[in-house]
């Protein structure tokens, strides 16, 4: 029998579980309380916004408390209805609005803004209070833009950065009216930010947003450049959500048709780049195992992880795979191989990557990537930005036919490339190819299913030939720390480690569409959306005939015609990169 307590809401008696907050209990009983600063009870119960105020009746008096942080007790008499409570909530929102930049029309968050949402619910008048506003700070970094005038000081980003990701770039500064959320050294780029973008997903307003590149793309079209777009594996798992579809709908077909309608010269799939990464990375792994070089090998696909490693674990550089991330590789191939075959100059080509990631925006500006005479990728758009462009062009999503990426030299992809967007996908794909290279026969697909799952740290032992190798998969940068300490102390039992900075992998990246249901604290959605998105990608893999990167015909052709063999001199020039130790507090 569960422990229950008797509570009263607006005078009506209910019986609910013990130890719930007032917010949770009222949700169970069918009352929605507006919330703003509340994010997740495990991380955050600050009760700072005062939007979720409710009354507790004590005799003739009513006490106001924040419902998100107050626990229910037996006999509690909750008041959600009296004018006192409603006015208090309204006042809180009106006060927030009085210190908020009122540029809603041009705010990219418009439509997903939680502040506007609660303002609507409580019926706030934005001009009720007026007075001095805080000084506005606009901090534009490579990946993320912070606009202090839109900040409501809910502290979610601080919680996520400190507790979920374990980086601690953002914190509160100053007291009273001058209190702000600010990076340690005022600017994000000086403060050791890795641009994972989890704070952007947590921000209820437009205070933290990706640094928009739509202008760059528009300019490239204007200059009549050949604008080639490539789409990351994780985009198709989430893009349909923005067009009023449920979570868990594959958006690939419609997405490719939409991109073709937007006028791109070619529409490619980064899955091909993923296959190429795997071919190179597996070769590197096999070489490390055979020649007993530095192990464990650690993946390098996640630019936020690379940023983190260079700042905090630079001594592990020999362990990091030297492969560029898939979209960089694909960009390099487009500007060399593809351009050669089509008699184009690399300068005439403008490569746009659509990525679920804010760190990729920073990655394309890395000095270390300029191994060739051109920039691999010219602009990175997040999922949200491409959704904006599709909507701006007036393309009706529901009427779009199912399309395919252009099948022009680098069109084909394998199932292994498709699962790159999920945490564990890179590992599985690389193992499929490494197994083939070491044992000289194909492994059964389900042989590696141990690396799948939703936990943030997973390990598996894989039997390759006569040898067992141990591998680990980590998502969420904080969870990598114990493993990295082991590697640093030369105690790591693993041969291969995959690290993704965002919990769940790229499908939950900082550039993905906001999961609106999470704002309203639908626990079922919050616990399952990563699972739903990842099952889409595993389905894509299952439906593919070719499921190993090395069996991709276009990859084979690329090596025959151009790169000669994996890890050749040319592929090192085009597809590999270097890393260097960076100062924690500046770039």
């Amino acid at each position: 029998m569960k422990d229950t307590v008797n509570i009263k809401i607006n005078g009506i008696p209910y019986e609910v579980e013990k130890n719930l907050t007032i917010l949770e209990a009222s949700r169970i009983c069918g009352y929605d309380i507006p919330i703003l600063c509340h994010w997740d009870h495990d991380y955050c119960a600050v009760g700072s916004c005062r939007v979720c105020l409710v009354g507790i009746k004590e005799g003739n008096n009513t006490r106001l408390v924040s419902s998100c942080s107050t626990t229910i007790f037996d006999g509690i008499d909750i008041d959600l209805l009296s004018p006192l409570v409603l006015r208090a909530r309204k006042t809180s929102v009106e006060l927030l609005l009085s210190n908020h930049s009122k540029e809603c029309q041009q705010c990219p968050k418009n439509g997903n803004c939680e502040l506007l949402n609660v303002a609507k619910i409580v019926g706030a008048d934005e001009n009720k209070f007026s007075g001095k506003t805080q000084d506005r700070v606009i901090d534009i970094s490579n990946g993320i833009t912070r606009d202090s005038s839109k900040c409501v000081l809910c502290g979610r980003c601080v919680e996520v950065c400190n507790k979920q990701q374990g980086i601690g770039v953002l914190s509160f500064k100053n007291k009273a009216f001058e209190n702000v959320v600010s990076p340690t050294k005022d600017l994000l780029k000086d403060s050791g930010c890795i641009f994972c973008g989890q704070c952007v997903l947590a921000c209820p307003t437009g205070a933290l947003m990706e640094n928009s590149s739509i202008k760059l793309v528009d300019e490239a079209f204007e200059k009549k450049k050949k604008v080639i777009v490539q789409v990351a594996p994780a985009i198709r798992a989430a893009i349909a959500e923005a067009f009023e579809q449920k979570i868990g709908v594959l958006g690939a077909g419609k997405m490719f048709s939409a991109l073709k309608k937007l006028g791109f010269y070619r529409v490619f799939d980064t899955n091909f780049g993923a296959d190429l990464t795997i071919t190179e990375e597996a070769e590197e792994l096999v070489e490390r195992i055979k020649n007993k070089k530095v192990l464990p090998q650690i993946t390098s696909c996640c630019p936020a992880w690379i940023n983190y490693m260079e700042r905090f674990y630079a001594d592990l550089i020999p362990n990091i795979s030297s492969c560029k991330s898939p979209h960089q590789m694909e960009g390099a191939i487009i500007k060399s191989y593809f351009a050669q075959k089509h008699n184009l100059m690399p300068d005439d080509i403008f490569v746009v990557s659509v990525m679920p990631c804010t760190a990729k925006k920073d990655e394309i500006k890395r000095k270390e990537n300029k191994t060739a005479d051109f920039v691999d990728v010219d602009a990175v758009l997040t999922t949200r930005e491409i959704i904006f462009m599709i909507k701006r062009a007036g393309i009706n999503w529901s009427l779009l036919p199912d399309g395919e990426p252009d099948n022009d030299l680098i069109g084909e992809y394998s199932g292994a490339g498709a699962i790159f967007g999920v945490s564990g996908g890179v590992m599985e794909a690389a193992l499929r190819t490494a197994y083939f290279k070491l044992v000289k026969k194909e492994a059964d697909i389900l042989f590696f299913k141990d690396v799948r799952g939703l936990q943030c740290v997973r390990e598996a032992t894989i039997n390759i030939g006569e040898k067992d190798i141990k591998v680990a998969v980590v998502s969420g940068i904080k969870n990598a720390v114990p493993l990295l300490q082991d590697v640093r102390n030369k105690k790591s039992p693993y041969t291969f480690i995959e690290i993704m900075a965002c919990p769940g992998g790229c499908i939950n990246g900082g550039g993905q569409p906001y999961v609106k249901e999470c704002f309203f604290l639908d626990k079922n959605v919050r616990n399952t959306y990563i699972e739903k998105r990842s099952s889409i990608l595993y389905n894509v893999d299952e439906k593919k005939k070719i499921r190993q990167s090395h069996n991709n015909e276009d990859i084979k052709k690329l090596y025959n015609d151009f790169l000669i063999k994996p890890c050749s001199e040319l592929s090192h020039k085009l597809l590999h990169t270097t890393y260097s130790k960076k100062d924690k507090f500046s770039q």
Partner: protein
């Protein structure tokens, strides 16, 4: 009668609460600021401000602020509103209230220890296991068994609101700055 000294005192108080709160909850950070702006306007002779708005705001802060600092500040501010609009003077009640407020909060505020960078501990020897603190804790951060086990503060849940410090009648809550 309003003496110049009284007005000075009141103005200083308004500035004090507007500038020395921790800035964590909306009602204190922006609410007290807006109220102080309104009151300063009135004191400076700008009469066309609605008394109702000020009263409503003051009452909301008094009931809804996160911690005792905000609630008590609003209480005194309401007396000041009363003084401005009804009695047209600041009498001794206002001044006493201001002084009481100072004696409780000035040290905490000036040393910057309202709201953050402090940790609270309950001294198990001094704790009388009365559960007063846990009943008042807005974050549900204090656990213990009434009359049997001393109470303890869960630092991860603690929101540094000083409520337990204020309500404990036995001085069992210690502050580590």
């Amino acid at each position: 009668m309003n003496t110049i000294d009284n007005i000075k005192e009141v103005k200083a108080f308004i500035d004090f609460v507007a500038n020395e709160n921790c800035g964590k909850c909306t009602l204190c950070r922006i609410g007290v600021k807006r109220l102080s702006e309104i009151l300063n306007n009135v004191i400076n002779g700008n009469e066309d401000i609605e008394q109702k708005t000020a009263l409503e705001l003051g009452n909301t802060i008094k009931l809804g602020a996160l911690c005792d600092f905000g609630k008590n500040a609003a209480n005194v501010l309401l007396l000041i509103i009363d003084g401005i609009f009804q009695k047209k003077e600041f009498d001794n009640t206002v001044l006493t209230a201001i002084n009481n407020f100072y004696s409780e909060f000035k040290e905490r505020a000036v040393t910057g220890t309202i709201g953050k960078s402090v940790e609270f501990f309950i001294d198990a020897n001094k704790c009388k296991k009365c559960s007063m603190c846990s009943r008042h804790c807005p974050a549900g951060a204090i656990s213990g068994v009434i009359r049997l086990e001393p109470f303890q503060i869960n630092q991860n849940k603690c929101i540094k609101c000083w409520t337990c410090f204020s309500v404990c009648k036995f001085g069992a809550v210690n502050v580590k700055k």
